[in-house]
């Protein structure tokens, strides 16, 4: 639809429909499960970190299109990077999605700039950042992570009824 602010751009819809690196890895070196208790989204991330680089990465889960596309694009962006490069990208993505940095201030963000629009939608920021939190959790050997952790800058409840 011709709404210029629309998050639901072709790339996002495409990754939602045909997620890349979807599934699990037999014996990952790192693994974490991420969970957004407010909307029930949950995903798992498996990583095989070699001596130098991330040799393999996969994700699986139940989630909205924003979360699934974010996870799918994350895996394609991360595969082959060093851990340090991956950590930098995680920081850039989180800063962009939460509106702390504009996407042009993120040198490594590339195609992930399509998620810049979530920063205008406080209730959807968590959907976009869940995979990245989970990947960060996997690197830091936190077995389960949640978008409700205290250090989450965007504690935006979905609402009550």
């Amino acid at each position: 639809m011709a709404n210029y602010k629309s998050l639901y751009q072709e790339v996002i819809l495409d990754h939602n429909k045909k997620p890349r690196n979807y599934g699990t890895i037999e014996s990952p070196s790192h693994h974490a499960v991420g969970h957004n208790p407010l909307c029930g989204d949950h995903i798992s991330v498996d990583v095989v970190l070699g001596d130098e680089r991330i040799n393999n990465i996969a994700f699986q889960g139940e989630s909205c299109a924003i979360c699934k596309a974010s996870a799918s694009m994350m895996t394609t962006a991360i595969k082959g990077k060093t851990r340090a490069e991956a950590e930098t990208l995680i920081q850039e993505f989180l800063a962009m999605a939460t509106g702390k940095l504009s996407h042009d201030a993120c040198p490594n963000i590339g195609r992930l700039a399509v998620f810049a629009g979530v920063s205008d939608l406080p209730t959807r920021v968590k959907c976009a950042i869940l995979p990245w939190h989970t990947l960060s959790g996997a690197f830091n050997a936190v077995a389960t992570t949640s978008t409700e952790s205290e250090d989450d800058p965007m504690h935006a409840p979905i609402g009550d009824a």
């Binding site: 639809m1 629309s6 029930g40 989630s63 009824a161």
Partner: protein
């Protein structure tokens, strides 16, 4: 089902002038994302007519002071307006006596009052509390807290796939340890209207009191607590065209008199010494501290407004909206209604194949349409029906058939984007 299958194409019920009513609600003229606001999140909170806004302004500009405390002019007028609001609420639900109407901060507060005031005094180890799968978290969590504290047990009435309580199973849950029943009148997640009158009669035949969570019923139908014969009835002002921060607990006087106060403080006492405090009479025993006076008076104005339109007329118009919307959705491939009880009110939960509810909510918002997405604070229902979340359109009497059309067009747009 029959209600949904009936063909109904009339644009409004006779003698119900929705355009005239809409003119009372200033917020309905808003544009959202350059589209006229279509507000279909009334189960979460309803909007306020100018009449209630004006009443709040009049109170605040000419009548405000603290109540029950001083002899001066403003305190007397504020006190009498506050008590007048209580009488309006008494008549709205047909309570026998005005002292049976307690001002609380909302449904959640009302239920917690009963848990602390009645539950902690009369429910003990091994006793059983019956709740239903449909309950809102606010009628689950307080009882879990009590059960944990006392070693009591919670028994849960199951539902069928349509979202209706299994009344045979309800009856089977009773035994000599059953001490309390908590049941919602109308489900906020599915719209099911529960047969509470029959359920109350069954419980009373076994000497068990019943609390009804009426948060989603009071805005949509005539509630008569004497006819229902319930012991407690809880609802919120903000879902009833009133302000936030105010709600009602109706309680049968004989029960309220024997209950423990929930909060201690000013206004709820007759005398205080450090040796002994004598509690005030009901309802004041349960209204510690300065209440939300303006909100209570605003709620009084809201029920006047609703009564003038007539709760039966409101129910009929909303049913027409629900039928029309349900027919439209049933005719759409790839869209499914969640909750197909025979008796439903004002709530339409649905799922669209291949599209997560959050995406639906965001895309409908781009069309100016406000719906709720998520688990609706009723996770046990979602688990039972095997859906992580739903999208929910919930109607009020000021919604129009054109707004239903906008919703349907919005869902079509979502489907187009996701194909």
């Amino acid at each position: 089902m029959s209600a949904i299958q009936t063909t109904l194409k009339s644009r409004s019920t006779p003698a119900f002038d929705v355009e005239r009513i809409r003119a009372d609600f200033p917020i309905l003229t808003l544009k959202v994302n350059d589209k006229p606001l279509v507000y279909l999140d009334n189960a979460a909170s309803s909007q306020m007519p100018q009449q209630v806004i004006d009443r709040l302004v009049r109170y605040q500009t000419t009548q405000h002071a603290n109540i029950n405390r001083a002899v001066h002019y403003l305190s007397e007028i504020a006190t009498s307006e506050f008590e007048e609001a209580r009488r309006k609420l008494q008549h709205f639900i047909n309570a026998n006596e005005e002292r049976e109407v307690i001002f609380t901060s909302g449904t959640t507060d009302s239920i917690n009052l009963v848990m602390h005031g009645y539950g902690r005094k009369f429910i003990g180890a091994g006793d059983e509390i019956i709740l239903t799968t449909l309950e809102h978290h606010s009628n689950i969590v307080p009882w879990q807290m009590l059960a944990e504290e006392k070693g009591a047990k919670i028994r849960v009435v199951p539902i069928n796939d349509a979202g209706e309580l299994l009344i045979d199973e309800y009856e089977k849950l009773f035994n000599e340890r059953t001490k309390f029943v908590g049941v919602m009148h109308v489900s906020n997640a599915l719209g099911t209207i529960n047969p509470i009158k029959e359920m109350i009669a069954f419980a009373h035949a076994r000497g068990v009191p019943v609390l009804v969570d009426g948060a989603q019923a009071a805005p949509h139908m005539k509630v008569d607590v004497q006819d229902l014969d319930c012991d407690f009835y809880a609802f919120s002002g903000h879902k009833l065209c009133g302000p936030t921060g105010i709600g009602i607990l109706y309680g049968r006087a004989a029960l309220l008199e024997n209950m423990q106060p929930f909060k201690g403080g000013g206004d709820m006492i007759l005398s205080v010494t450090f040796e002994k405090t004598i509690y005030n009479t009901i309802p004041h025993k349960f209204e510690a501290g300065t209440p939300p006076i303006a909100a209570a008076i605003g709620l009084g104005a809201a029920v006047d407004y609703l009564s003038e339109i007539g709760m039966d007329a409101i129910a009929a118009h909303e049913l027409a909206l629900l039928k029309y919307a349900s027919e439209q959705i049933n005719a759409m491939p790839g869209v499914r209604i969640i909750g197909t009880a025979e008796h439903k009110a004002a709530v339409l939960s649905f799922a669209v194949d291949g599209v997560h509810p959050h995406d639906i909510g965001t895309l409908l918002n781009q069309e100016g349409i406000a719906v709720r997405t998520g688990h609706h604070c009723a996770q046990p229902v979602m688990q039972r029906l095997h859906v992580p979340a739903t999208s929910r359109a919930s109607f009020a009497f000021y919604n129009s058939m054109d707004e239903v059309d906008a919703l349907i067009a919005g869902i079509r747009t979502v489907q187009k984007i996701f194909t």
